[in-house]
């Protein structure tokens, strides 16, 4: 079984008129056995930014903690909130830093930019960004989420 599928996840982010939504499942499994149904995978970063993390559970939690660390320092130093675009670039940079020993995690970023316009993006585990206007997906059943 692939390491990215070890714990399991399904995340989808979608845009609407001046709004975005993000959804995930709550399952934590160890291979085929379900161990918990209250495992958090979507995290609020600030009032206009959510990130969903699909992949190995330990990396989901670690990345959440690391992102919080980086965001807090940014807000203290810059005295402004981080925009979704900047956040996407930061996360991409953090993932690529571990190019040869990556975090097994594929994020989904959903937020509203400074003008209130939706921002959706996803990336692979080493930080290659894909942005979309309509929806972004990640997880073990990516194909199903796309609608195949």
């Amino acid at each position: 079984m692939s390491i990215l599928a070890y714990n399991g996840a399904a995340i989808i982010g979608m845009s609407g008129k001046d709004c975005v939504g993000i959804a995930s499942d709550n399952r934590l499994g160890i291979q085929y056995e379900t161990v918990a149904m209250d495992f958090k995978k979507v995290f609020k970063m600030n009032d206009r930014l959510f990130v969903g993390l699909a992949g190995l559970a330990t990396d989901v939690q670690t990345l959440d903690q690391l992102l919080r660390f980086r965001m807090n320092l940014y807000e203290l130093r810059e005295e402004r909130t981080m925009s979704p675009q900047v956040f996407t670039n930061l996360l991409s940079n953090m993932l690529y830093e571990k190019r040869f020993g990556p975090y097994f995690c594929e994020p989904v970023i959903a937020g509203l930019d400074e003008k209130g316009q939706p921002h959706l993006s996803t990336m692979d585990l080493i930080g290659a960004i894909s942005s979309a206007k309509d929806f972004v997906v990640a997880g073990t059943c990516e194909g199903n989420l796309y609608g195949m």
Partner: protein, 275 residues
């Protein structure tokens, strides 16, 4: 005389002093005053903004008060450039602690970290000390609201109320007579001197609330600013308190709110009459 032992931080003088550290402290006594007061429901820090030129662009949010983490803020007296380095150190330390333990850093630990960093510049060669004194205001679950002061030597201490920067002795003597003393004893109308004041034990002190502490802070700045009445534009009033959910609220008062406090202080001193 002392000259031979002046230039190196890493040398004691024969009297057992570190002259460079003392000179650093001197630098701070020329800087804008900062007063910190511990209240029962929060902490107040008021600072004098030294307006050097009308042409200066407006500072982003502050030149004296800096947030370090969700539960701590500091106020600076001294060389701003030096302060910036230390503030960043403090922010990093608080953030790394929170990352490692998933818990807010105890305030004293944060202060100690900054002070240990400062101390290194008084013992390891080639570098001068930081010309900055700080007031740290913060909250943690173990000890509630706290106020600390630190100086270039790397020394720190916890206070109920204290002053740093220009004329801090005048400010401190005012605090000695007025902090926590809300009623006069035996209807005594005489002006209190330092000898009259009872020992400031916990039994005698009645901690002010944040509003009262703000007024006292403005009073102190009035005194340290050579009697020139503190105006809202020269003053920066900061308060820290808890909201209903138990989260720390860091607030720098707006000009209107600061003007209101100044007006209250003026009214108080006018009604108190001449003594």
């Amino acid at each position: 005389m002392a000259r031979r032992y002046d230039s190196s931080t890493t040398t004691f003088s024969p009297e057992g002093r570190l002259h460079q550290v003392e000179y650093a402290i001197e630098a701070i006594n020329n800087a804008g005053t900062s007063v910190g007061i511990l209240a029962k429901d929060g902490v107040v820090m008021a600072s004098e903004k030294k307006i050097t030129s009308g042409l200066l662009a407006k500072a982003r949010t502050s030149e004296k008060t800096y947030k370090l983490c969700p539960h701590a803020t500091c106020s600076v007296a001294g060389l701003t450039a030096d302060a910036n380095i230390l503030i960043d150190q403090a922010r990093l330390r608080a953030a790394r602690y929170a990352y490692q333990y998933q818990e807010p850093i105890p305030l004293e630990s944060l202060v100690e970290h900054v002070c240990n960093y400062k101390q290194a510049y008084t013992q390891y060669g080639g570098l001068r000390p930081f010309g900055v004194a700080f007031l740290f205001a913060g909250y943690d679950e173990a000890h509630g609201f706290q106020l600390y002061q630190s100086d270039p030597s790397g020394n720190y201490s916890g206070w109920k109320a204290t002053v740093i920067g220009a004329n801090n002795q005048a400010g401190k003597s005012l605090l000695k007579t007025e902090y926590g003393v809300s009623k006069k004893k035996d209807g005594d109308d005489e002006m209190k001197t330092e000898d009259d004041v009872p020992a400031l034990t916990d039994a005698v002190i009645e901690m002010p609330d944040v509003a009262e502490a703000c007024r006292l802070a403005v009073k102190v700045l009035n005194k340290t600013m050579d009697g020139a009445v503190a105006s809202a534009e020269k003053l920066e009033l900061f308060t820290m308190s808890l909201d209903e959910d138990g989260n720390c609220v860091h607030k720098i008062l707006t000009e209107e709110e600061a003007k209101a406090v100044i007006a209250e202080v003026e009214a108080e001193s006018a009604s108190a009459g001449d003594t």
